[in-house]
């Protein structure tokens, strides 16, 4: 059975790029436009993988990633970060939040800085969910 992949990104061009890549590789695409919609969709549709942007309205990918990784229900849900924000800043932000909010969270296994070629995205998806 095809696996469901949720793309959370506020940029329609990026969403359509990822959806095309997913469809061409026989995954079922789901979309959300911001962090709040993203969490709602995760709770409602139980995707097998989340492709997550960072800088978005109504809830950033930094907070959503942190939420998922500290939630016992979602902590094992695979996440690919896909963003224009540099990894270096992402790591520093999580470190700052570790101090403020307490508790360390695992670093993302796959962090893709935009833009990437379709093949690189497919490889990342396949690495996480086959």
């Amino acid at each position: 059975m095809s696996k469901k992949v949720l793309v959370v990104d506020d940029d329609p061009d990026v969403r359509s790029f990822v959806v095309t890549v997913l469809e061409e590789n026989l995954y079922i695409p789901l979309v959300a436009r911001d962090g709040v919609e993203g969490l709602e969709m995760i709770e409602k549709a139980s995707p097998d993988l989340v492709i997550l942007d960072v800088l978005m309205p109504r809830g950033s990918g930094i907070r959503l990633y942190r939420h998922l990784k500290t939630d016992p229900v979602f902590k094992n849900l695979p996440v690919i970060m896909f963003t224009g924000i540099a990894l270096r800043s992402f790591l520093k932000s999580q470190k700052a939040l570790d101090e403020f909010k307490g508790g360390k969270i695992p670093m993302p296994e796959i962090y893709l800085e935009k833009p990437v070629e379709p093949e690189e995205l497919v490889r990342a998806i396949q690495k996480k969910i086959g």
Partner: protein, 294 residues
Amino acid sequence: MEIRKILFVTKFEDLCYDALNSLLSLQKAFLDHVVFLNVIERDKVSMRRGKGYLKEEEVKLKEMANIRFIDWAENLFEMGLEVGAYMEVSSLIPEILRVVEKESPDLIVIGHSHKGVLEQLYTGSEVTELIRRITVPILVFKHMVEDKIVPEKLFARPLFATNWSETGEKAVEYIKDMKNVIGEIHIMHVVKEAALKSSDTHGVQKVRKVERKRLDDLCDELEDAGINARPHVYVGDPQKEIIKAAKEYQASMIILGSSDKAAILERWVGSVSKNIADKSIFPCLLIPGDKINC
């Protein structure tokens, strides 16, 4: 009232990172979330006779805003703040109202109106119109005294603008030798607008990614040498953007590789480094190249 979320409305003219930075003391008043809004007025991308809708212009303007917002957001994220951003082609007031509806900010920060006296007379100022239509407090930000920045410590926070030239490389070696006096260095590269010509975001983002990677590598190189360094990609006219960055990051001085242009050419058309040294309010350290032009 606790100010947890700010909506920061900017046209990148008079309301930039330095203004935002001056607001971060609000963290003591529970500030936890900053939302950026840049509205591209419709007439900048609207139909032109024989040209149609200017899609390329829209992509370019949105990505220019995106690049600035990414740079700002990285700083704020690193402080543990939550950040969001909107870049829309719209009209200013309706767009602010739409974002206020979605985000429910506790404070709106906006620059003073750029409408002329006559225009204000007929249509009112943006601030007046906003106050009339929403209940959220608005902070109209103004620079109290234009350009009055006095560096207390000259080497505390220099800005190094590199164009990846030979003189830029030489400047890096010079900077490394100053590691004991430099507090934190901001390193920037200005991408010229012409380099962003593409009808899709992919092409434009690629340009930024390449430049950002080069800056990251340079920062790593300087951090290995014991200097705290922060990278920034800007877009536009190098002279204007370098001065803008120096203001935004409250630079104590600007470090530049001096021009590679021949002296006669420089005399006629000037150079970025010379013009900044002559005209900006910042102290400038010019690093000359090895070869002498005459």
